[in-house]
């Protein structure tokens, strides 16, 4: 199994601890005087999202995590199961609602997403940064109000609720930033 030595430690490294995949989100080198060099790391569990502190001595190593990023198309949702297909291998993957997390809000049929595989099994999925969604329901806005600073909730085709400006109407298409969940603009058909 491949592993990383402390001299290779850096932000963004994907490692495996106690069987779980982790992302190194911080790595600080400290060395007192003529003493032992220490690498103080923060690691985020890629399955649970929890962050742990670990300290390593120079010369220590951590097992590399077998993490692969693939592009996968969203096929359909069945209850709490989301089904995707790897665009290159045509292999199908099922993700739980917990694994899909916030991404469910943006998933439309045939949407191409980026999926992380750990030991060949899917662990998370990210939709494109910008997606276009149809508004299914929203309270009517005040006529002529084109200000974007007055917002109201709207329900989009995926069932998610997004905050949009008052002028957005039922049937409109809106562009949303999936990283922040924020409305960007109205889109013409």
């Amino acid at each position: 199994m491949a592993s990383y030595n402390t001299s290779e430690f850096k932000k963004g490294l994907k490692v495996q601890l106690d069987g779980d995949p982790y992302l190194m989100i911080e790595c600080n080198f400290v060395k007192p005087g003529k003493g032992q060099a220490l690498y103080k790391c923060k690691l985020r569990n890629l399955l649970r999202g929890t962050v742990i502190d670990r300290t390593y001595k120079s010369g220590d190593s951590i097992e590399a995590a077998d993490i692969e990023e693939v592009t996968a198309q969203f096929l359909y949702r069945q209850g709490d199961t989301f089904v995707f297909m790897d665009n290159n291998t045509y292999e199908q993957y099922e993700l739980s609602a917990q694994q899909v997390d916030e991404a469910w809000k943006y998933l439309k049929e045939a949407m191409v997403c980026s999926m992380l595989l750990f030991n060949g099994q899917p662990i998370s999925v990210s939709p494109p940064n910008h997606v276009v969604l149809r508004v299914e329901y929203t309270e009517p806005g005040v006529r002529g109000n084109t200000a974007t600073n007055v917002t109201k909730p709207c329900r989009v085709e995926t069932g998610a609720e997004i905050l949009c400006p008052a002028f957005v109407e039922i049937g409109d298409l809106i562009r949303v930033d999936t990283r922040t969940g924020e409305y960007i603009e109205r889109v013409k058909e």
């Binding site: 600080n28 400290v30 060395k31 007192p32 003529k34 003493g35 502190d53 300290t55 120079s58 220590d60």
Partner: protein, 330 residues
């Protein structure tokens, strides 16, 4: 001059303001030592001899000519100018200083760059107390933060960790780390006493030192004597001292070890630790040992990390902000 750091991929990482302050501090260092009758010296950065320390890894350079078997001779980039400067003392120097680059492998972080600038000085006849006073005077001249507070290693450990580092057994040190909820490297062996002391120092002590007033820590555990002499005690302590400002270690000094025999012994022990740590042992013979056998005068020496001094003087958050070209741009 425009702001240096905006010059794209070829430009420096420090601003011109900082680089000008750096130049002024270099000048102030020279003035300080000239005024006290110190002789500025230069010694080789590339040497056939190297310091043998458990935690210092020198860069090795293969040089011509090859030996009879055809393998190139190995030289070392200095981790400090200590060996050569002590050879000058053994040859009659009384007060010398040097501003030079030193090199240490695998030391990279906000406070570390594999190549860095050291100011190092020695004065024959100085006790540890006199060496600490000289360091304090230099610190006041360069940083104007007032006189340093002098605290023993034992005092700072008792204050911030709650254990006596000279008396506590190994188990008590492990317990202290647990009590402070410190993330302990799983590879740290229970009997690696200095490893535990270093961990506690880095996590619990250093960050507090030199906030407000500079602090000089002195009287280290004998196991951390490096090249300092050990005062018999009881308890025995190494006559070593370190300067801290704003939680940053700036300087390290020794009332110097004079016995070649004792140094040989420490070098052997360091090489045993290096092997245990999976590191290459380093050559044990050196011209420093010959100089010590001929007679090194009693003296105190000290080395100051000049880049860190510039950091503290300018309020910079990282070494990169005070270096023209840090390692990745070198």
């Amino acid at each position: 001059m425009s702001d240096a750091s905006t010059r794209g991929p070829f430009g420096p990482s420090a601003s011109w303001d900082v680089l000008r302050k750096r130049a002024a501090l270099l000048h102030a260092v020279r003035e300080f030592f000239e005024n006290r009758g110190f002789l500025e010296v230069e010694t080789p950065a590339l040497s056939a001899d190297t310091v043998v320390d458990r935690h210092l890894d020198p860069f090795c350079v293969e040089v011509e000519p090859a030996d009879a078997l055809g393998s190139a001779r190995r030289y070392w980039l200095q981790t400090s100018p200590e060996f050569c400067m002590k050879r000058l003392l053994a040859a009659g120097a009384t007060a010398i200083y040097q501003i030079c680059h030193a090199f240490r492998r695998q030391e990279r972080g906000p406070l570390h760059n594999p190549e860095f600038t050291l100011v190092e000085w020695y004065r024959a006849g100085d006790s540890m107390q006199q060496g600490m006073q000289l360091l304090d005077d230099l610190c006041q001249a360069l940083l104007a933060r007032g006189p340093a507070e002098q605290l023993s290693y034992s005092q700072v450990f008792r204050q911030y960790v709650g254990v006596d580092p000279l008396a506590a057994d190994d188990a008590a040190l492990c317990q202290a780390a647990r009590r402070w909820a410190i993330a302990v490297p799983s590879s740290l062996a229970p009997d690696d006493r200095d490893g535990w002391l270093d961990l506690l120092l880095a996590e619990r002590v250093q960050p507090h030192l030199g906030r407000g007033r500079p602090v000089i820590v002195y009287d280290y555990p004998p196991s951390q004597a490096a090249l300092a002499r050990v005062r018999p005690g009881p308890p025995p302590v190494a006559e070593r001292f370190e300067l801290y400002v704003d939680g940053i270690e700036l300087a390290n000094g020794y009332h110097e070890l004079l016995s070649a025999e004792e140094l040989r012994d420490r070098i052997r022990r360091n090489n045993l630790w290096r092997q245990r740590d999976g590191k290459e042992p380093l050559p044990e013979e050196s011209r420093l040992l010959w100089a010590m056998e001929a007679g090194l005068p009693p003296c105190t020496g000290c080395a100051l990390g000049f880049d860190r001094l510039v950091m503290v003087a300018t309020g910079a958050a990282t070494l990169d902000q005070v270096l023209a070209f840090p390692f990745e741009r070198a």
